[in-house]
Structures are given as structure tokens and as C-alpha cells.
């Protein structure tokens, strides 16, 4: 066990470094964990050999996989069922456009511009088709749009977008067989029963220090994950769906969600994201940077083409529409999950995986930098003071037109 404890200490040490970096730089911990994983693999691998990080150890793969599953569940549980029911038609249309546009464009770019195989290109399409619901949610809160029809539609559309991504990942690469039918049949029954059973079960036995709630949810997630894997699908598919069907019950139990987040961010996801980063080959990226650039640019372009017209359809002001569109291009969690699925199932090779993960990381960084550079502070930009003024006057007279005084 000494070796395992030492490796665990090393990985958690890296996780701690990544967390400190994320606090200092005010970026998502997931992002810094991926980057730290990549750099650690590069440095430690070069200096001491790749065995020390041992990203393929079975215990580590379990922790990483559990991290992806629980994180996906939590992402699904963020859904607001009332909004979704109210806006499902519009959200369905916008979300599908948000998925299909980058999915097809990026898959075509990977196939025709980068010369990837058909399966690898589809996987690239899936990995680049995601969006980040929470990032868009934060934007909606900033603009005060989360209570408007427009904001609700965009948020619900992000869920549809991610659901389409997860469904594509779960079914596109699995052979359709009897196993698939069994998986789907069991899943339908479980998803129908869980929203009824879970709150009653928790009400009867929950609320104790033994954390029955967490154990029950883990049982559901791992059980359905095992069934999905048995059917050659992906374990995050049922996890996301379980999150969605329990969003109206478990998702509203903030104390439980916070406890699950503690488990997830404190132990599980560091292994997942650092492992995802450690599998990136920097030499392969440097040798063939075209993959990263093509995928990143096509994703951003496809999101703009697909999402911007929709925001304009709702008469969103230009700058808010552009800002929302840019931030809908992010999608770290499902992007890396898709890429890792492709690598572990032999759909893509190490070089393609590296390009995909780098593009996914780029899609979390570049659109935000652009948005902040050109749209900050967004609602007042038109009245901005001369950018060349190094330190504007400390007190500024109040323009009468603005207040009508």
C-alpha cells in the first residue's frame, strides 16, 4: 500500500497546487487541474519517468471515473424543471441548434481539414458541441436576465445542448445490440421511478450522520453506470439523466448538494481533471498545432453561427447577445469527458486526444478573454471614457441626460 499512498499524496499535492493557482488566477479549478496535470506529466515524466504519476492505476481510474459520474450528476441536477417545462419547445429548438451546429461543423473540420477518421471526427464533433450551463447562468445573473423569457430559454437550451451531447456520446459509438435495448429499458424504468421513490426514501430514512442520501445516489449512479458500460455506452449518460430527473427533488436540497460537492471537488474531480491533463501530450501538440487551432476556431464559429441569431431573435441587445454567444462556447466538463471516452475506447489516438483537450481548454479561455476584453463593462461600453486616459478623474460630474434631472 505504501506506493498507493505515496501516489495518492502526489496527486492530491498536485490538486492542492492547482486549487491555489485557481484561487490566485480566479479561474475554474477544473481548468487549472487540467493544466497542472499536463505540466506535471511533462516535467515529472521527463525527469523521473511516467510511472511515478501512474495515471493508469486501477484505483486512480476508479476515482477519476467516479469524479466524472458525480460531476455529471450534479450538472444535471442544476436543471430548473419548472423553467424547462414552461420553455421546452423554444429551449429544445435553440439547444438542438447549439448542439448540431458545432457538432457537424467540427466533425467536418476534423474529417476534411485534419484528415481524421470518421469515428474520430464524430467524437471531435461531440467533444466540441458542449456548452457550460453554469457559465451561461452566471452571465444571465449578471445581466439580470435569469428571470426573463430570454434568459430562461437560453438556460434551458443549454441543458438540451448538453443532453444532446451526452446522448450522442452514449449512443454514437456503442454498437446497437440486445444489450442496448436492455440498458434503455432498465433506464426508462429507473428514471420513471426515481423521482417518486427518492424523496420518500430520503424523508423516511434520511437526515442522519450516516449519509444515507449520498450512499443511495452513489448506488444509483454506479449501478446505472455499470449497466451503461456493459452496453458499451458511457457511464456519464445515465448520471446526467438521473441528475435531470432528480433536479426537482434532490437538486433543491441545497445541503445535500453541498455535501456532494464537497466529496466531488475535495476528492474525486481532482483525480479526473489531473488525469485528463496528464494524458495530453505536449510534444504531440507542438508538433501538430493545426488540430487545436482548427477545432477551437470552428467551435467558436459554429456556436456564433448557431446561437447568435437566436439571441437576436429574442431582441437581445448586440453586446449582450455577443457576450452570451461567446460564453456558450465554453464546455470544459463534457468536452474532456468526451475526449477521454474517445481515448479510452480507442476512437482517437494520443495526438488527437491532446488536440481535443487543448481545444476544449481553449474554448473555456479564449471566448472569455475576448468577451472581457471587448464587452467589459458591457452595459456602459458605449459611454466609456477615452481608453487612452491612464487614470480618469476621480470624481465625475453626473450627466443630466442619464437621470433626467
Amino acid at each position: 500500500m505504501t506506493g498507493i499512498w505515496a501516489q495518492a499524496a502526489l496527486w492530491l499535492g498536485l490538486a492542492l497546487v492547482a486549487t491555489l493557482l485557481s484561487i490566485g488566477l480566479r479561474v475554474a479549478t477544473a481548468l487549472s487541474e487540467i493544466v497542472v496535470g499536463t505540466i506535471a506529466q511533462l516535467l515529472i515524466g521527463a525527469a523521473l519517468g511516467g510511472v511515478l504519476l501512474a495515471g493508469d492505476a486501477s484505483w486512480l481510474k476508479f476515482l477519476a471515473g467516479a469524479g466524472a459520474i458525480v460531476l455529471t450528476f450534479l450538472a444535471g441536477a442544476e436543471l430548473d424543471p419548472a423553467v424547462f417545462r414552461h420553455k421546452w419547445k423554444e429551449a429544445g429548438a435553440v439547444g438542438l441548434v447549439g448542439f448540431v451546429s458545432p457538432f457537424l461543423v467540427c466533425a467536418a473540420a476534423a474529417h476534411y481539414l485534419l484528415g481524421w477518421s470518421t469515428d474520430a471526427s464524430w467524437l471531435a464533433g461531440v467533444a466540441m458541441s458542449t456548452t457550460s450551463v453554469a457559465v451561461v447562468y452566471a452571465v444571465m445573473l449578471e445581466f439580470g436576465l435569469n428571470r426573463t423569457d430570454y434568459g430562461k430559454t437560453v438556460l434551458a437550451a443549454c441543458f438540451v445542448n448538453d443532453l444532446a451531447t451526452v446522448l450522442a456520446l452514449g449512443f454514437l459509438f456503442s454498437p446497437f445490440s440486445l444489450k442496448t435495448l436492455v440498458f434503455v429499458a432498465v433506464a426508462v424504468v429507473v428514471f420513471a421511478i426515481l423521482p417518486w421513490l427518492t424523496p420518500r426514501f430520503f424523508h423516511r430514512f434520511g437526515g442522519r450522520p450516516s449519509e444515507l442520501e449520498a450512499k443511495f445516489l452513489m448506488l444509483c449512479l454506479f449501478g446505472m453506470g455499470a449497466l451503461a458500460s456493459w452496453a458499451d455506452s458511457e457511464a456519464v449518460l445515465p448520471a446526467y439523466l438521473i441528475g435531470m430527473v432528480l433536479a426537482g427533488t434532490v437538486g433543491k436540497d441545497h445541503a445535500l448538494i453541498r455535501r456532494l460537492r464537497t466529496l466531488t471537488f475535495g476528492l474525486l474531480t481532482p483525480f479526473y481533471f489531473i488525469r485528463a491533463g496528464s494524458l495530453v501530450s505536449v510534444p504531440a501538440l507542438v508538433a501538430a498545432p493545426a488540430g487545436l487551432l482548427v477545432l477551437l476556431l470552428t467551435k467558436m464559429l459554429a456556436k456564433v453561427v448557431g446561437v447568435y441569431p437566436v439571441t437576436k431573435l429574442y431582441r437581445s441587445p448586440d453586446r449582450e447577445a455577443a457576450y452570451t454567444t461567446l460564453l456558450m462556447s465554453t464546455g470544459l466538463t463534457f468536452g474532456t469527458i468526451s475526449a477521454l471516452f474517445g481515448l479510452s475506447h480507442g476512437v482517437i489516438d494520443e495526438g488527437q486526444y491532446s488536440a481535443l483537450v487543448a481545444a476544449v481548454v481553449g474554448s473555456a479561455v479564449v471566448p472569455t478573454l475576448i468577451a472581457n476584453a471587448f464587452f467589459m463593462p458591457r452595459h456602459l461600453l458605449d459611454e466609456a471614457v477615452d481608453a487612452g486616459d491612464p487614470m480618469p478623474p476621480v470624481a465625475r460630474p453626473q450627466p443630466s441626460a442619464r437621470r433626467g434631472t
Binding site: S22, G24, L25, R26, V27, A28, T29, A30, L31, L71, L74, A75, E78, S132, V133, A134, V135, Y137, A138, L141, E142, H254, R258, R261, T264, F265, T330, G331, L332, T333, F334, A364, V365, T368, L369, N372, M376, P377, R378, H379, L380, E383, A384, V385, D389, M391, P392, P393, V394, A395, R396, Q398, P399, R402, R403
Partner: protein, 150 residues
């Protein structure tokens, strides 16, 4: 005449100094004091974590503003407190515009180089974009008294 004062509060020492200054100002002009805290999502965010950060930050600021409310109890100043989400400078200016604020008070605190490069200092941006007078309160140094710059 100053009728409504807005204090941008983040719980830092500088913000605490700004709070004391704003209370004095509010008492002097019998003005209404608006306390605003801004929960900031990560600059470069990701799914579940961004939501967690916002929730955590909101809870934190709710608690801090509750403490300020308690401190204001005996001061005889009419006050209201709000927590919003976004970039501090933008939300402060936005709130000031929406609520007809006459005077904004903010503390001045250091930022990392990365933060400055990414979004600039909060005080600097508020000064640049606010449509009313702004006071930046610097934290007291051991050798000199703190002073408001207006």
C-alpha cells in the same frame, strides 16, 4: 445634496474603512445608505463549480451584510443591503444607475497582476464608468491616517 449613498462592500479591510466613511457621510447628509456586495463567478468558469462558487459567495456576503446591518442598528442611518452576481465594478455602476445613487464609496485593495490584466481594478473601473461622484477609501497605513479621495 447627497440623498443616496452606495457602498461597494467585499469584506476586506479597505471595504470596512469605506463602510465607516460611508456611514459618516450618510449621517452628515441624512442620506440613505445602500450596501452592495458582488458575488463573483470565476473569470474562466466551468459547469458545476461556477454554480457552487456563486452560491458560496452569496452565502458569504449575506452573512457579511447581516453583520453590517447589526453594526448600523444604533447609527440612525436608513440602510438596505443587496447581494448581486457579476463583475464588481460593473454591478456597482449598474446598481447606482438603477437606484439613482448620488455618491458611490468603495475601498481600494490590491489585485493580482492577472486580475488587473483581465478586468482592471474595481475602484478604477467604478471611477471610470460611474455617473456620480465616487470616493475611494484607502486602507489606513501605520504611518498616516486613511483619507478619502474624491
Amino acid at each position: 445634496m447627497i440623498r443616496k449613498i452606495l457602498l461597494g462592500y467585499d469584506g476586506s479591510q479597505a471595504a470596512d474603512d469605506a463602510f465607516r466613511f460611508a456611514v459618516e457621510l450618510a449621517k452628515k447628509y441624512t442620506a440613505e445608505l445602500h450596501l452592495l456586495a458582488v458575488a463573483r463567478p470565476p473569470e474562466l468558469g466551468d459547469d458545476v463549480e461556477t454554480e457552487a462558487v456563486i452560491e458560496n459567495s452569496r452565502r458569504h456576503y449575506d452573512r457579511l451584510l447581516g453583520q453590517l446591518d447589526a453594526r448600523l442598528a444604533g447609527e440612525g442611518v436608513a440602510a438596505q443591503a443587496h447581494v448581486v452576481v457579476g463583475h464588481p465594478a460593473e454591478q456597482i455602476v449598474r446598481y447606482a444607475d438603477a437606484h439613482g445613487i448620488d455618491h458611490i464609496v468603495v475601498g481600494h485593495r490590491g489585485h493580482t497582476l492577472f486580475e488587473r490584466w483581465l478586468i482592471g481594478s474595481v475602484a478604477r473601473q467604478v471611477i471610470a464608468y460611474a455617473h456620480c461622484a465616487v470616493t475611494v477609501v484607502r486602507t489606513a497605513q501605520p504611518s498616516a491616517q486613511a483619507g478619502g479621495r474624491q
